[in-house]
């Protein structure tokens, strides 16, 4: 049975992260990175989330609210999402949030959403800075709603969402009643660029900046982090890398195979 089109109120969880091309340097404290030369972008998986939310809104009606916990600078990322077509932005900016780990961030996001009506939350599968894969499922848990992760296709009908998710070696189809949360995987869509009229319109769209107190959260309650980075280092360099030389392609191939078998012992 084809469901009646029903408006969908959508929340997108957005994190601003260093662009992958950024040169990453370890800061003097040894447990964070230097941010002065970093180019900040929307987490690529959250771009899929924004795009999907806009497409759902276009198909069903409703609205898209983008929410982020982060520094003031993260409002740029929210503006970009608004320029793509989201309707409203919320930035939770509070020094107490900076010390939070994933569970703390998820706690803040879920408190911020507790009194907001929504049918669907879309998050990235992971943020490409911490690569944690945690905040989406944790927000769903704190809000007591089901979640489906790594989604490449979804359909909404009759108050339910049916998602195709990727697993090792294939796909699984799952269904959840709304409200629900899902996390994105590449393949879901191709995010649009913000158009010039979109950018102009975004300037007039609401972007609320809130503190933890504004969302009724006691900074102390946001929680002492349970995970803490104690040191950072660069992965070991492949110092001994070498180009295999040889008179002919045949000779190079033979030398490579010899090296893989006798030196590296991987074949």
């Amino acid at each position: 049975m084809k469901g009646r089109l029903q408006k969908v109120e959508i929340i997108v969880l957005l994190k601003q992260v260093p662009a992958t091309e950024s040169f990453v340097e370890i800061a003097d404290d040894g447990v964070s990175i230097k941010t002065d030369r970093v180019n900040w972008v929307i987490n690529p998986y959250d771009e899929f989330a924004i795009e999907e939310a806009i497409q759902i809104k276009e198909a069903h009606g409703g609205s898209v609210t983008v929410i982020s916990v982060g520094p003031e600078k993260a409002s740029e990322a929210i503006r970009t999402a608004l320029a793509m077509g989201a309707d409203k932005g919320v930035l939770i900016n509070d020094p107490a949030a900076e010390k939070c780990d994933c569970l703390g961030i998820a706690r803040i996001l879920s408190e911020a959403l507790r009194n907001v009506p929504f049918d669907l939350i879309i998050a990235g599968q992971r943020a490409v800075d911490d690569d944690n894969f945690q905040v989406g499922p944790a927000v769903a848990e704190f809000l007591s709603i089901p979640h489906i992760s790594m989604v490449i296709k979804e359909e909404i009908a009759d108050g339910k969402i049916r998602c195709h998710k990727v697993v090792e070696g294939g796909t699984v189809i799952l269904e959840a009643p709304l409200p629900a949360l899902f996390t994105t995987q590449r393949g879901l869509n191709e995010p649009r660029y913000a158009s010039l009229p979109g950018i102009m319109k975004a300037k007039r769209k609401p972007l609320d900046i809130k503190t933890l107190a504004d969302i009724g959260l006691d900074a102390a309650k946001a929680g002492k982090p349970k995970t803490k980075i104690v040191s950072m280092k660069f992965p070991p360099e492949r110092k001994d890398g070498r180009i295999i030389e040889g008179e002919s392609a045949q000779a190079k191939a033979a030398e490579l195979v010899r090296a893989l078998s006798e030196e590296a012992k991987v074949i």
């Binding site: 499922p137 704190f142 089901p146 990727v166 697993v167 090792e168 980075i229 191939a253 074949i267």
Partner: protein, 319 residues
């Protein structure tokens, strides 16, 4: 008093994933450093196949064999595991950081309000607490993360930890489980059978834009010969030559094979994000300036269509 380490086994259609053995082996090492027992938890499959886990150090094997857990769904699994955790009170929980393991551990950590380190490549114990080494910023940084609180959950990156056999008592305990309130409904599963799963393969041979088309037969042959998997760069996926599930990189899969062979791939930072923790990296590219060479252990400058078949022939001679 330490209550032990719980390693969560992962099965698909009644067969354990390789990462199960890695989680048990690592669980055993952690249990030894903490001076406690290792318990394996098997969900959705039989006692018969579970016995095997004793070989990897399991002192006790809990088996929750119910049809409702045969296919993984987050809510049923989280409910059951959370119940077991409240009874067993493990101090450490180890799972694989497979698609399932990441999903379950994230939801479970929130349910238990417990610390979780995702995608760990090494674990150690300091003052009875776990320190996990994990990669961040797309593999550009390795961070040591200290966990604080109980239980401490570590999801380990597939193919990153050694499988070690050590005999455990392996006493089987069948559990009567109640999956509790669930909302997710499993509809169907479609698996492409045959080739080795990319994230579990010991050898990955990948092709990029340099493949020039959807004919990947030269690298498929090499991969088959080495019992490996075939990967692809995003360019090859965007061209429609390979399916998205073959993509290696920041927006694809993260792989850590013993041997990674990149053919016709330039070596963009986003590609490295998915394979930089591989054991040995080989690059085959006709452009001597390609960035991929700077991060490879062995590079060959030349045409992949000429070189790869020759390499395949040379390996056949070894076998």
């Amino acid at each position: 008093m330490s209550q032990g380490v719980l390693a969560i086994a992962e099965q698909s259609d009644g067969v354990f994933r390789k990462v199960t053995y890695e989680a048990l082996s690592e669980g055993k090492r952690i249990a030894d450093s903490l001076g406690c027992d290792l318990t394996a938890l098997v969900l959705g499959t039989s006692e018969n196949i579970s016995k095997e886990l004793a070989k990897y150090g399991a002192d006790k094997i809990l088996v929750a064999e119910t049809r409702a857990l045969y296919e993984y769904t987050t809510d049923a699994y989280t409910n059951v595991v959370a119940d077991i955790v409240s009874k067993e009170k493990p101090v450490v929980i180890i799972s694989g950081a497979s698609t399932q393991g990441r999903d379950l551990s994230a939801r479970l950590a929130a349910r238990l309000n417990a610390p979780l380190a995702m995608d760990c490549i090494a674990l150690r114990v300091e003052n009875d607490n776990l320190i996990a080494t994990r990669s961040m910023y797309g593999g550009k940084i390795l961070a040591d993360v200290a966990l604080d609180g109980k239980p401490q959950i570590a999801a380990i990156r597939p193919n990153s930890m050694n499988i070690t056999e050590s005999a455990g008592a392996g006493s089987i305990e069948k559990l009567d489980v109640d999956v509790g309130k669930t909302e997710l409904q499993f509809i169907e599963k479609k698996l492409d059978t045959g080739r080795v799963e990319l994230t579990e393969a010991d050898v990955v041979v990948s092709g990029g834009r340099g493949m020039g088309g959807s004919d990947f037969s030269v690298i498929e042959e090499l991969a088959d010969l080495l019992d490996g998997a075939v990967g692809a760069s995003r360019a090859a996926v965007d061209e429609g030559w390979r399916s998205a599930s073959d993509q290696v990189g920041q927006t694809g899969k993260v792989v850590s094979p013993n041997l990674y062979i990149a053919c016709g791939i330039s070596g963009a930072i986003q590609h490295f994000a998915g394979m930089s923790s591989s054991g040995i990296i080989v690059a085959i590219n006709k452009d001597p300036e390609a960035p991929v060479f700077s991060k490879a252990d062995y590079g060959i400058v030349g045409d992949l269509f000429e070189l790869v078949p020759l390499i395949t022939e040379e390996i056949k001679k070894l076998k």
